[in-house]
Point group: D2
Chain length 161, copies 4
């Protein structure tokens, strides 16, 4: 397996463009972060999520790079959904009692403007805090401050295994 | 840059688990597919999307692997959203006249069951075909046939370039 | 109270147009249906809902009249929502075990075409039948067969008082 | 027609309960308001909508009465949808240039708590103000201040006839 991976990388180094090499770097560093335990999931590592939590508001910021582009070279709507869903879900997890977790039951997203620029920042806030469900809003902004998406979701609160 | 990437890979080969190496393989092969021109985007390549189009119905199937897991080790809802949005958006692109494309305006997803098993298959169909907008449904299934999500979205039809 | 109502009606009979009188007739007949026990709610009576249930599919048809128009003289989107929500909710109620009922947790509606013509028909079907929640679709059609709206909703199954 | 309506009313006065008579009063006064030109639609009149507009925020308050109850004797979700949609749509109409109007393209509602108490108040605010579409939020509150629903909608801006 290891030799196979070395050969695979060499082949990419020979045929890849500068953009391709940048993408490979982001991907491998993402796995590295996961291995080091800095991130809980590969997705989290690959997207290089930076987080903050304050006043019942949870934020995630990621760099915008070709890795997350769609075929129009703007941020893929599914990536915006991924970062929104993650920020909203983590917020619920922060607010539930010990021993409980959250799963997304439903997520609605309005796409407002193209995701371009340096970074994508998603901000999750509470709309309704119940004992069985929470309704959470998520806003996505690009680095020039423009809102690119607005989401709301219903999260189920479940007792962990 | 190339030397940096070789060192990065070596460090991962030393410290990574078998799962980590499998993830690296999937990621590098994803980039390879993009370089070879088999896939239009890195996301498409990394997720190893297999597609089919028949009778105004577009399907995408991807393998389920740790790359797309959330911290509960099931498919991240954002990945399901990504494959749903892609299948729905590509369907619209197939149905619009030459010179036109589609952008997602709004996407609503009901999450129904955990994404586990071998593969995730998303199937997009037309609810309403207008000249300015289309409304599309997307269903996601796992390999045992269970429906894991149901989505609807509004797509705007835009003149390209 | 009775005398007040008689005076109120007389004043309307003097000042109202033919359309106004038709509206009054529909409203009073709606209350009459509720009093006679043919309908469970005033809304149901006023909208003159006709229903059918077959093969896990529940339908409601109502006449389109000025009572339910918005200021553009087409069916008010809220009325379409009301008939969709009712058909979807009643369907769930038909499918749950004895002693259980359903409440709408979330409802998403795509409005597709203006509600004009003779009647509005809403058709509810099951997307997912769970023991705690159901996901239901609702389609609204006008009398010329054109689809005017498509909805999906999450319904919570609750034990009745 | 007039004689028919008088007979209809008399029959209701004989057979109706006190609640039924209260409902008839609300309905007839609703039509009266429409005739007098105080309200633009019968729905608006029947629901006795009171409105306010300030700082790009539009509010509608209605009394809660048996007219708008579902079969659980709480506000029918469709009525909440109607008042939300109306407040959100009127807000867009207030914000578009002269000669333009708005139609609801999509509406998503989270139902949070039962609609009980004296009044239902819906508050619409701007999430995104574009030239072709607007995204609007709507919150519904009952008289004890509890939030009972949260909605977002996409509105299309159209040139009027």
């Amino acid at each position: 397996m290891k030799e196979e991976l070395r050969h695979l990388l060499e082949s990419l180094l020979q045929n890849g463009s500068e953009e391709d090499l940048g993408v490979i770097k982001q991907l491998l560093e993402g796995v590295q972060n996961k291995i080091k335990g800095n991130r809980r999931t590969y997705i989290d590592g690959i997207l290089h999520m930076e987080t903050s939590f304050e006043n019942e508001c949870y934020e995630i910021t990621i760099p915008i790079s070709p890795v997350i582009h769609n075929n129009l070279n703007i941020v893929h709507g599914g990536i915006t959904a991924t970062v929104l869903d993650t920020s909203m879900g983590v917020l619920v997890n922060r607010l539930v009692p010990e021993g409980y977790g959250a799963v997304t039951n439903q997520l609605n997203i309005h796409y407002i403007a193209p995701g371009i620029g340096e970074t994508l920042r998603c901000k999750a806030e509470v709309i309704h805090k119940g004992t069985k469900t929470m309704v959470i809003s998520g806003e996505a902004f690009r680095s020039d401050g423009k809102k690119i998406a607005y989401a709301t979701g219903t999260f189920f609160i479940i007792k962990k295994g």
